[in-house]
Assembly symmetry: C2
Homo-oligomer: 633 residues x 2
Amino acid sequence: MRNIYLETKEIEEGLEIFWGNIERFFKEEGYETIPSKDALGRISSHAIYARYSTPSYHSSSVDGIMVKSEMTKEARENKPLFLANEDFLYTNTGDALIKPYDAVIMIEDVRNEDGGVSILKPVNPWENIRIQGEDVIEKDLIFESYHKFSSVDLSVLIAAGISEVEVLKKPSIGIIPSGNEIIDEKETLVKGKIIESNSAMLMAMAYEEGMDSKLYPIVSDDKDSILKALKKAQSECDFVCLIAGTSAGSKDFTSEIVRELGEVFVHGLSIKPGKPAILGKIEETPFVGLPGYPVSTNIVFEKVVIPTIRKKLRQAEEEKDLIRAKLTKNVISSLKNREYIRVKLGIVDDKTVVTPLDRKAGSLFSLSESDGYLIVDRNIEGYQRGDMVDVSLHRPLKKNFFENRLVSIGSHDLALDVINDIFAQKGKITRISSSHVGSIGGLKALRDGDCVLAPSHLLDRAGTYNNDAISMFFNKGEVSKIDVVGRMQGIYVPKGNPQNIKNISDLVGKTMVNRQRGAGTRLLFDYLLKKEDISEDVIKGYDNEVTTHLSAALAVKNGDCDFSIGVKSAAIKMDIDFIYLKDEEYQFIIKKQNLQLKAVKELVEILKSDQFKRRMKDLGGYNVKTSGNIIGD
Amino acid sequence: MRNIYLETKEIEEGLEIFWGNIERFFKEEGYETIPSKDALGRISSHAIYARYSTPSYHSSSVDGIMVKSEMTKEARENKPLFLANEDFLYTNTGDALIKPYDAVIMIEDVRNEDGGVSILKPVNPWENIRIQGEDVIEKDLIFESYHKFSSVDLSVLIAAGISEVEVLKKPSIGIIPSGNEIIDEKETLVKGKIIESNSAMLMAMAYEEGMDSKLYPIVSDDKDSILKALKKAQSECDFVCLIAGTSAGSKDFTSEIVRELGEVFVHGLSIKPGKPAILGKIEETPFVGLPGYPVSTNIVFEKVVIPTIRKKLRQAEEEKDLIRAKLTKNVISSLKNREYIRVKLGIVDDKTVVTPLDRKAGSLFSLSESDGYLIVDRNIEGYQRGDMVDVSLHRPLKKNFFENRLVSIGSHDLALDVINDIFAQKGKITRISSSHVGSIGGLKALRDGDCVLAPSHLLDRAGTYNNDAISMFFNKGEVSKIDVVGRMQGIYVPKGNPQNIKNISDLVGKTMVNRQRGAGTRLLFDYLLKKEDISEDVIKGYDNEVTTHLSAALAVKNGDCDFSIGVKSAAIKMDIDFIYLKDEEYQFIIKKQNLQLKAVKELVEILKSDQFKRRMKDLGGYNVKTSGNIIGD
């Protein structure tokens, strides 16, 4: 049996329906009394009034002597006034004021004399006194209802005599992963199984929002198991989430079960990723069915579960900051959904640019490395390259964000990872933020002002590298080249080379996985085929593309093809065999004026460092003699 | 014996000296291996490479049928292609691809037929397949060294087969409160004693920075106790802080003891608050002596301790955001120090304005309610009212920060607290942000564009309220009045009225605490004195000022004076006696165009609500019949 989606709802509409049906959840408040020192991030249940004033008594605010101010009226620089020992009292900062004294003279303004002291100027009443209640007065309202306590607030509470504070209980959220293919991370991963990894993210998100979360064991895709798990979680938690089993597939029983146990208010949100969400209740406990794909589950948790909890805790929804930036790629989106496209930001030639990342619901890594979402609303077809668009930031940008991010578009090499790791080890924020579109794509992006670095390795007719391509895209003298590494290109074959491939001509009739159009590695392969007069038609899978050396090597390792092509280091990493074809230069192409950027200077320093050179050599197949050299600066 | 400060250092210079002397602390790294699911906010000790690809096998990305794509080439809308049952396999989302199938057709595009299905269009190889390693490829560098894990990162780790991760150990920080006057919060507060409240704030700050902290018992101001406590903490922690005892007072032994146990690198920072800081080491363990005043201790912890820990954890210093705003008060600061002045922000007539708060080092509450610091650097004398200045924000402003903050300058009433508490209870972010300078000061601020609301209660010659003053400051029709409450003004006397005061004439020769110049209550008092022909000279303490009703009532309660003046509610709160003098109107004066602001509309709604009226009545001495009425809109 297949379910049919109810009409999908926009998030706002979905939340309104959901919230309108779980009013009991919002009204029922749990309180607990905790030590104030443990109240960081907790929320006051009611207005809090100071029990004591702070300070709780008049005290000296300096080290000095307590005096009656009236007695000091005559003191002058040129006519010091003598105070006998019985006319004053020595005091330290914080000591209580003793009647009838009403002022303190700083010790620096007091001269010792026989039998007393002399002073050079008068003091006013209450001078150098911390007045009782100067900071907080007893009975003052110090915190409103539903106030979230900061670190400073804890001291304010304790100083005001509030050593224990009543706070809202943390709502508890039960999280149930489901699916026959899902295994616990402790089990052995076999083909057809997927490690359950969503719950760790959701529990951390819940923690960051001040919720308690409870993880339940993975349930299989059968009605009875799901029903039991939901009932148990409902009896133990304030809110229940089930991961996966929420779409309209034949094994997706969730909506049916929730209907049995309570009610389904919304099935299907018009968002992407995240469409197959269920908003309902089990008995009177709110329930959200989260889609199984990690990005979908993240979005539905963020856009549905967290706002619901914030509403319960009377914490206003935190709207995300927007930043306007120039789009570097066309984006086409369905009119039916609001799409959340993961993006990375950067600055190129003083313009803020935004690059869309992988849009697949399964690509969690792209969420991890993204800065925010480009939101393409329903009824909007998408945006054009060059359009100015608003990016909704995951978190506020750090102050020096842009100057520390080097936008790189072009060819891929493991050197990029090594460089970033060295930046990190040096405690720098500077990072290369790279998209892998191949050398040609990178040079186009550089020309169009979409990146600062274009990593490239394109063979020239003269046997040198990148010069022909540069002269195609740029004016003479417009760009420089920075040597990154020399590397060995060759053929990837399975360990032991079972088909005994020795050179290009042995590839005829074999199946390959190729690199994407515009990749330097593919162009080199085409050049070598042509040299041997071999047509691409006799290579099976020629159109089957991957975008990095590691992907190509993995395809060979896993038997998806007989061979692939790429650099030696990836073959070493994947433990497959490598048949050497050619040495080549992998260089950053950069506009000349950008050589002056602080981050680029730091980059060149790293390329020249022993640390970089040693690490690249350790990877194998690299030549680092000229790393960091700038050609044409 | 008194210590003498070494030459004070700027923070930057102080840190440079400090850091240059604790290199062992930075170099010695502790690691520990923890479950990845617990790694939120923890920091990787080295680069992390994926163990598995995600997904770890080719799988169907939809519900449908697996087919050999070659077989589907002929399918057309007008010429459906029949596939026999043996030519395909039903599949669910996530199922592993089975050879020789190489594509999946979505179930929606499949029609059931006898003995098989028919399809209307061909599929390409790999269509609707999630390729192995689509998100992450095994051996990929997924996180760099010293990467701080986010919630999403935890799932990335687990999905990539990293169920345990090596992270930096949390540095442990030992915190020792000191001072003879300091008592634990569990002890009974008596005069001359201060509740130890700094440690809660510091431990929370340490927690937020990913440190473990250990609190030691309060030590008294004697050399031996301090020495023992420092030695113990040094042997148990990576970093030691002593609170108080760091200045140059006669009981401040700290620098001497630290010199005995290790070294003092810096004594005295040229900052205010925070000057009496000590930067040193005990044996090889970094030591910071924090000044005892709460704001000072907070600033030194934030500006010295936290950057040192961040440096150790290779986390870049987070620079605070700056926001430019118009200063509403003159600020004079010493040339000798960099001063950190707590400020509040707001928006008035479309201009961002900044108001300095209490500058005393003991006023922690003003830090709690402040938005940031106005930093007045050394060698700068201060700023003038109207100057545009940069404010260093404690934390990024929420998106709708300004439209939800109603800047109020003027007279004080408990109604302001009640209004804010009702805003909070309604889950709104809207708040009145108020400074108390008296009615006249508020009207001037309103005229000068420094506030949106000016709470005022100034008696007119005609016996009405605020009209005379308004016509002095504004053009006809420029402002409106919003009724807040009617209230009872009178004389505060101690419980039982020991001096048997019955009216104004009984006050001659008595001692008072007065309200500040420009306060409506003081003007009323002056008016009543004049009416009775009593000179202010015969009232003792006439010039002794406080700025709120509660402060005035407290001074009476504590016997600082024979009487004071103010509204009835504060007398009730403080449980003192009240001698009725006059009814008056407490109103918000507001520029007409600002009645249209969303926040003002919400405010008026609250003033008219039963909830507000009931709560004001409960406080006593209030008349709420016309609350929320707008006069002259």
